[in-house]
Symmetry: C2
Subunit: 478 residues, 2 copies
């Protein structure tokens, strides 16, 4: 009997061996997967307990065969096969870039990120982590930014339950020995996100560190990257975010980041999305190994300019967070967060959420997860609903009239957003050759009001004269 | 008996003469006013009805003597005198620049502009104009932008009751003959503003024109400028705004504007403030004949940068208007208008108001005056009250932390403004050597709540966690 693996799910093969020396460093192990003329070489990994594993995400139905290779006799030349069956329902494959500025799943279904941020949610107690998953399941979020390494920062002084490396009795890290339980836990959370339809934007390095993980030698970084990619690349919802605020990690240079990009690019058989997140100084997202721009900025109106500059999807995954802490990046109102999402959306880009309300037990969503307290998530769900109802294609910014912005999908669909302005009317100029139906959206109060009649060409429309108004025109049969 | 004129009021002498030819163009007429060693030459003007006048605003108490000069025998060598008495109560003289970035009246009293805009209010029927004056008297506004010439634009298609030039039977303007009734009317309104304590920011040219006043020959412009200055310079509340949106007046070049600045500078014995207002392209406010920057922009956070650039007071007199029309510059919410005033204030600059709500009879405050409909004026009155209660000196921006801004007056006074952010606490760092009392201001709801205790050095303060919060620290005795 041959195993059946649905397309874009994880095939895993495990092999037992007891090599002499350190199995993390002294053994090479991998497998080549073949279908027809294709051959995909994949690195395996040591998972503790004399167990070596190799994982593979089949992207094409059919019978895949594999053969292992290793410098350890017992792990070399082992073969097997499995059948890649059609995908499970609601499975669309890994997300890729499309149409220069946008994203789609491998099967062509548009993917429009409505991301959030819980940097250290996998480093908490189980009950809190499970609460986070339940919250996410009810939320509009379909992407989450999360760190591999634990976090040391305000409101984040607790020790994590697990560490990525073995520790000696005197407290020194043995950087040559990974702690498989740490990674098993982390990948369980990634898989649970996958099963909720949520992309895991995995942050490989970050500066908020008291353990030394931000300042490891280059060879340790590289081994860690190869190990992590071997374990995680087969999960279809993985994105690689090389760092959070890379520019304040003073132990790494631009040359280091380039090497890290190259390793990820070489190791990942699925070519998951790759980017790197700035604090003050930006990475040059125009470089060919960057698949999309991952930006920290409050200037959402600049997205069309950045599109022109990078010719890639623009994700402003940090535009400050809804909350009330004193840090400048953590006290947006819910209105501001929602407004920034809409400005980014009609600018042809994508925006990320985070939440930082003071909490008696220091459980702030942006870092530890838990429950959401803010006013923006239901409004972001409304935005998602509007986007999901759009015709095929992607929103492109049409023009740039101060803070009144318009996006469109060809001549099928126009979305005006007035932000905080309160016009009681506006003058529109749509194609003369089609007819359109209009809806007036209150993006804060989450209402959608159809306007009577059909519209074409140049016309004035009465508007509510209130902030947070959007107007949607959808082409209808003449 | 010698006439007594309070300091900074208008002395006027009138003389009758019936010259042959055109008294507007064929007669030179003026007077020199002397006090002690000072001699001030002032141009006079023909006011119709065989009457020539000369006006003078004495800036120094004492007995002033004058002697006329003219190429017309009957107007030459006439002498007289008056006594300049102490100023009337609440009279502080013309406004001048002070301390690089600010304004003060001639007697040293700080002047903090809270300006508004009624471009064409002097070109309406008397009842409406008088209503405008009553509205202004109740308002916080102490400066108004207003055009000399009538205005042709959306919501402004009515003919004005008067024109500045004589018109032939066939409708052609005689640019060599002013219409004194037009100017008498205009200066009456300027004088009424003066008596309300309101500076008249007089716009000499503007592009919104169907009569030809935006495209007169240079010699007509020059004669008009000399005539206007002769009539108006003696009113202490006059400011010269060379143009509204000078950069879209395609009949005038930068050389023309330079000539116009020079004429105003040469003709005005009081050296009233001079600036010029942009649409898209800015005038170089660094030029020596510009006394302050008069800016159209929505980027209030840039004021500290413009201060550094121009080293002059920054007045953003147009940051869009509160209203609900479809034009992009005319549909701010009241919150946005108030927010922009506060951002500008803590940035060490000054902001202007305008209002453009749709009106069944097209009476929009921004152009015709009338009554105010918006929500910002009471909040601007609150801002004015806060500013009036500040210690001597002027607010200078202290730092530039994203959109949290702080202004201070030495170590006496600190004003934090959080705009739309909602921190529930903030960390302050005041001088260790003084003690401060704190007040929390809700600039939208117009409340001021003293915080218990005295503060110094570094400390955390609880805040309301609501937008539109300001915090004021005032030094108190130790």
């Amino acid at each position: 009997m041959t195993a059946e693996i649905p397309q874009w799910d994880v095939f895993e093969a495990a092999f037992r061996a007891s090599p002499p020396g350190n199995p993390f460093t002294d053994v090479s192990f991998g497998a080549t997967f073949r279908l027809g003329h294709r051959a995909v070489a994949v690195r395996g990994f040591y998972d503790g307990d004399d167990t070596f594993r190799v994982r593979f995400m089949p992207d094409t139905p059919g019978e895949w065969r594999y053969e292992t290779s290793s410098d350890l006799e017992a792990l070399n030349g082992l073969t097997g096969s499995f059948v890649c069956a059609p995908p499970l329902p609601n499975t669309h494959g890994p997300v890729q870039t499309t149409g220069t500025f946008h994203f789609a799943y491998a099967d062509g279904t548009p993917y429009r990120p409505i991301g959030t941020t819980c940097y250290a949610w996998t480093h908490q107690e189980d009950a809190l982590e499970e609460q986070t998953l339940r919250t996410l399941a009810q939320s509009p979020f379909n992407k989450i930014r999360m760190c591999v390494f634990p976090k040391d920062y305000d409101f984040n002084r607790n020790e994590p339950p697990r560490y990525p490396f073995e520790q000696s009795e005197t407290g020194e890290w043995d950087f040559t020995r990974f702690h498989p339980a740490f990674f098993r836990h982390f990948e369980t959370r990634v898989r649970q996100l996958r099963d909720l339809g949520i992309e895991a934007d995995i942050i490989l390095f970050h500066p908020y560190d008291r353990w030394g993980f931000a300042r490891m030698p280059a060879e340790v970084d590289d081994r860690y990257l190869r190990y992590l990619v071997a374990r995680l690349a087969a999960y279809r919802n993985v994105w690689w975010s090389l760092a959070n605020e890379f520019d304040i990690m003073d132990s790494k240079t631009d040359t280091d980041w380039e090497r890290i990009f190259r390793i990820i690019q070489q190791e990942d058989p699925c070519q998951h999305l790759r980017s790197i997140h700035n604090c003050v100084r930006w990475y040059d997202h125009g470089k060919p190994w960057v698949t999309h721009a991952s930006i920290q900025s409050s200037d959402l109106y600049a997205i069309p300019r950045w599109r022109d500059q990078y010719r890639k999807p623009i994700v402003v995954d940090e535009c400050c967070y809804e909350g009330d802490i004193h840090w400048l990046w953590g006290n947006l109102t819910a209105e501001q967060m929602v407004n920034r999402f809409w400005i980014g959306t009609v600018g042809g880009g994508y925006v990320g959420h985070g939440e930082t309300y003071l909490h008696p037990e220091e459980i702030l969503w942006w870092s530890k997860g838990g429950v959401l307290h803010g006013g923006s998530p239901p409004r972001l769900a409304f935005l998602k609903q509007v986007l999901d109802a759009a015709p095929p294609g992607h929103l492109e910014p049409l023009n740039d009239r101060w803070d009144h912005r318009v996006a469109h999908i060809g001549e099928e669909y126009y979305l005006y957003y007035y932000a905080r302005r309160q016009p009681a009317q506006d003058l529109y100029h749509l194609p003369e050759t089609h007819a359109y139906q209009a809806d007036i959206l209150d993006v804060w109060n989450m209402t959608m009001t159809p306007v009577e009649g059909r519209f074409r060409g140049k016309f004035m429309l009465k508007l509510p004269g209130k902030p947070f108004t959007a107007v949607r025109f959808q082409r209808v049969a003449l």
